[in-house]
Every structure is written in C-alpha cells, then in structure tokens.
C-alpha cells in the first residue's frame, strides 16, 4: 500500500525523464479511469447499458470551457466550475434517465446512443445564430487551473524538483482518483449500492422489497454522469482547447470497453481495464514503427492501422477467454457460471 503510494508519487518525475508526452498520456489515462469508474456505476452496479456516456464528459468540458475562457470573457475559478460541471452533468444524467426508465438492455443502449449523438450535434451547431459553443471550431485558450498564486500553466521548482504543468495536473488528478475510488467503494457497500444490485438482478423483486426503482435508477445515471462531468472539466483545463470532435461515439464505446474488459462491477478490474486500454495503444504507437524498421527495413503497414488492429484483436481474445473481464467481480463470475451450467 505504502509502496504503491510512493511509486505513484515518484512516477511523473520518472516519466518526465522519458519526455513530457508520457506524463500527458498518464494524465489522459487517469481521466479515462475516472470516466470508467463513473460508467461502472451505471453499467456495473445498476446494470443499465449506456452507449452515450461520453455526452456527460462533453457537458463537463463545455461547462468549464464556457466559464473559463475568452469566449464569453468569463474566468471563474476552477473550484466553482468543476462542481458546477458535475452538477450540470448529473442533471443531464437524470434527463437521459427519465425517458428510459422502462427500457432495458438493447433498447436502452439505442436510446443512450441517440442521446450521446444529440448532445454532440447540439455542441456542433450551437455556433449560430447565437454563438454559444463556437460550433465545430471549438473553444480555445481555456484557462489553466490556478490555485491562488500557483498556476498549472507554468513550471515551478520545489524541493529541487521541477513541477511542470502536466506534473501538477497529474497530482490533482491523482487526488481526484483517490476520492472517486473511495466514493465508489463506499457506495458499492451501502444501502444505495445494494438497491442498485437489486435493480440489476431483478427489477420486479426490487420493487417488492420497497425500492423505488425510478429514483434509484435516476440516481445511478446522475451519479455516473457527475464523475464524467468532473473529468470533462479537467480535460478542458488540461488541453486548453475542446471541440465536439473529442466527444464522438467511439469515445463512449472506448469507455464501455474499458469497463467490460476490466471486469464490470469490480472497481479494481475497471481501473485495470482503463489503464490497459489507455496505455497499450500508446505503447504500440511507439513500438510498431521501430519494430517494422528492424524486421523489414522499411514501413509495411501504417502504425495507426496496425495499432487498432492489435487493439481489436486483443479485445476479441479477452472476451472469448475471460468473458467476465480480466478481473471480474465475484457476482459476475457467478452469473457466468450459472449461465454455462444452464445452456437454456
């Protein structure tokens, strides 16, 4: 435990040695862990399939961008905007949840997919006649986070270590991650977490136990969305520029893959899934080209192509050999065992 903590604290400085890029990649990976943990509440805990989850990330990002950029000339501090982004995203979560309460499985997936697209299309088209989102051009020059005199945009030296912008974000994200993991663990093992489990297992029985399934499902949607809202705000602050392009369907599918591949319902499995799917494509990006050069003396296949090919192939393999994910939850293991015993 202590060793893991020390390693995590030392990590960015080690990575910075290899280039700031790797710190940035790590930061993006943490954002994806935050997203996966949020989606895990909806999909893993409450059993509601959501294919439009990235919309809440977009909402959080745009809330931050609009309230801390020259676009409207508003420059609110991050400690106001991030919670606000979480709140607005949660409202959108409830908004999505309300019309889908009677839907399950495939039907719910289609509606959430539509919702994700609607949000993106709005962001794309709210550039005129009244310019709210600046349309496909996106919003640039978003304020970096600053805490008092400490700006995340520049490098400071402290205790002989260089704290660059990305390294500062790394530590802020790490703190958020710890908080989110803590909240997830607490929720899972609580009255609310058990009610989510009940809804996932059998909705009619859940109602017969006195659970207001409407409320408990909306709560799952809102809670999951609020995590994405915070992550979105951080994304906007780190990148300094956002546009609707960052919030396409593939991103929703990516986050869902992280949850499923890692192990739906198991917090640690989901983190593992997010880490793998964030880092492996990046590693491939830097290894595919040199390897080809070494073996064939020239580039045969575009690294971008082979990267996604390997990625897709890995997904297929994991899902066929470990259908519960790499690190499944105990409950999910039982479900799969029960299904293989009873092939009906």
């Amino acid at each position: 435990m202590v060793l893991v903590a020390l390693a995590l604290l030392a990590l960015p400085f080690a990575l910075a040695g290899a280039g700031t890029t790797w710190v940035r990649v790590t930061n993006l990976a943490i954002l994806f862990i935050l997203l996966s943990l949020g989606l895990n509440i909806v999909v893993g805990f409450a059993g509601l399939l959501d294919l439009g989850y990235i919309a809440f990330y977009a909402v959080g990002a745009y809330v931050y961008a609009l309230l801390a950029s020259p676009h409207f000339g508003i420059h609110w501090p991050f400690w106001v905007i991030l919670p606000l982004g979480a709140l607005v995203a949660a409202l959108f979560g409830a908004l999505l949840g309300a019309p889908t309460l009677k839907l399950r499985g495939d039907y719910l997936a289609i509606v959430t997919l539509g919702f994700g697209e609607i949000v993106r299309i709005f962001l794309n088209n709210l550039g005129s006649p009244v310019n709210i989102t600046n349309g496909p051009r996106g919003i640039a020059r978003i304020d970096a986070i600053r805490i008092g005199e400490l700006s995340f945009a520049r490098t400071d030296s402290f205790l002989g270590l260089d704290f660059s912008g990305p390294i500062k974000y790394y530590f802020l994200l790490l703190a958020m991650l710890v908080a989110v993991i803590f909240i997830n663990l607490r929720l899972q093992n609580s009255r609310i977490g058990r009610a989510w489990e009940a809804v996932r297992e059998d909705e009619i029985a859940a109602r017969a136990m006195g659970i207001d399934t409407t409320r408990i499902k909306l709560l799952a949607f809102a809670m999951g969305a609020s995590f994405a809202g915070v992550a979105g705000g951080m994304f906007a602050a780190i990148q300094g520029f956002i546009s609707p392009e960052s919030f396409v369907l593939v991103e929703s599918v990516m986050v869902l893959s992280m949850v499923v591949l890692g192990g739906m319902g198991n917090i640690w499995g989901v983190i593992l899934g997010a880490l793998l799917l964030s880092f492996v494509p990046e590693l491939l990006r830097y290894t595919v080209q040199p390897l080809q050069q070494y073996f064939f003396g020239r580039m045969l296949i575009d690294p971008e192509v082979i990267r996604m090919l390997i990625f897709g192939f890995a997904l297929v393999l994991v899902m066929s050999f470990r259908p519960g994910g790499l690190w499944p939850s105990a409950v999910r293991k039982r479900e799969l065992a029960a299904r293989s015993e009873d092939p009906a």
């Binding site: 009255r191 609310i192 489990e197 009940a198 136990m209 029960a338």
Partner: protein, 256 residues
C-alpha cells in the same frame, strides 16, 4: 375486530380476458387466510393487484384503513404488505445475507451522503440491518448459508430465504405465493412450523397454495377462486364439502 385488509369489487382484465371479476374478501389481523383455486383462477393476479404490480381496473383495497389501489409497489411495501413469488425471484447472484439486507431498504434511510460519509447514523443503521438480517436467516434456518449466493441454495432453502427477505420489510401482512411448491413432505412440515412461528409474531398471513393438506391444516379461512370469480369462502371444513369447489377441481358430475 376490525379488518386488516378489505378488498371489494376487484376487477382486472388483460385484453379480452377477465382475470378477476368482482372479487371481494376481508382478512382479520392475526389469521392465516388461504387463497385456492385451479390453475388460471386468478390467484396470482390478485396478489399482483394487492402488491401494486398491476393496478386494478375496478374495486377498492383498504389496508389498515388506507386505500391501496393506485399505489406503487414500493409504497405498498412501506405500508406493511410483503410478498414472495410463485417462480422464486431472489437476487440469485448475491449472498443470502445481502438478499435479506435488501429487504431492509424500505425501513432504512441512508442516502447518497450517508453512504459516502458513513457517519454514525449510517453505521448504526447498517449494523442494525445486518443483525436483523442474520436473525431472520436464523429464523428460517439459513444462518449457516449467509454468505452463499442465493442461487446456489437448494430449492426449499430458496423458498425460505424469500420468506426471510419479505419479513425484513417488517410487514403486517405477509403474502406467500405457493411457498410449499417443490418441497418434499418433511420440508413442508418445517414450512408449516415456520408459518405458525411467523403468525406467533403477530404477522397476518395470506397464502396461495396447492398442497391441500397444508392448506386445510393451517388456514383459518379460505377463499376459492375459479375463472376470476369467488366461488366459496369460509372455514376449511366447510370448503371441503362445498359442491361448487369440488366441481371446480374435479369437473361436474356426469349426467346420468
């Protein structure tokens, strides 16, 4: 004694099929009331109307002085009616203990903040839920299986676990849909003891059951349904000799 539950003029149809027509009965506190009838008579439909899964087309259900028609299932549970299901509906993949603890939902309060902060009130509530759940598992004889997944329990054990889970909601009326189905003779005897014990705790029982020996031995009064209509009501002894009941079960005597 004033009635705990009074149903009158209950009607429910699905498309063109009249599942219940003008069904009326009342249950007094502390009795064991049986609901019998051939398959398709409307017994389970009546249960679903009573517990809010279906809204009745007509009629009124007054429980402890308050109208139930139109309430949602979770509101009805809060008022004190709990049920089990004919085709067992446990949360199969989670532990027996957690199944019963989920039954505490209606009687506990911890919300999102309580869950995250785990303050003193929440900790007390959780500990209380767990100890009550364990006590109920004790009552139905499943204390040793507390950590086993509900779906891995033997059939009879699953039926008893469903009863424990329903009891966790602290009902005044416990509605059991074929609790003895699939049980062998000794399990059924055990069930009878359990139901008497539950009645001894002041809980009124409403029972759908096909095991006639159990019904006749256990119930204070019976309601017989056939094609959604009441065909008889009264003490078991009177029901056994009722010509219409015999006809419903065995068919009309052949014309000479």
């Amino acid at each position: 004694m004033s009635d705990l539950l009074t149903c009158s003029g209950i009607g429910k149809s699905f498309g063109g099929i009249q599942a219940l027509a003008e069904v009326g009965f009342s249950i007094t506190p502390g009795e064991i009331y049986g609901l019998i009838g051939p398959n398709g008579a409307g017994k389970t439909t009546l249960f679903n109307v009573l517990t809010g899964i279906y809204a009745p087309d007509r009629g009124s259900l007054v429980f402890a002085g308050a109208q139930l028609a139109g309430l949602k299932p979770h509101e009805i549970v809060r008022r004190g009616i709990a049920r089990t299901f004919q085709n067992i509906r446990l949360f199969a993949n989670i532990s027996a203990l957690e199944n019963v603890m989920i039954g505490r939902h209606a009687r506990t309060r911890a919300g999102l903040l309580g869950a995250i902060l785990r303050n003193a009130a929440t900790r007390t509530e959780e500990a209380d839920s767990e100890s009550r759940a364990l006590a109920l598992l004790d009552l139905v004889g499943l204390r040793e299986r507390a950590n086993d997944a509900a779906g891995n329990l033997a059939y009879g054990d699953q039926r008893r676990l469903e009863i424990a889970r329903a009891l966790a909601t602290e009902p005044r009326l416990l509605a059991l849909d074929e609790p003895a189905a699939g049980m062998n003779a000794s399990e059924t005897r055990g069930l009878r003891e359990l139901l008497l014990e539950i009645r001894g705790r002041g809980i009124t029982l409403l029972l759908i059951e096909h095991d006639m020996r159990l019904v006749m031995n256990l119930c204070d009064r019976l309601l017989v349904l056939d094609y959604g209509v009441t065909i008889a009501e009264g003490a078991p002894a009177a029901i056994q000799g009722d010509a219409r009941v015999i006809e419903a079960y065995l068919g009309a005597p052949a014309e000479a």
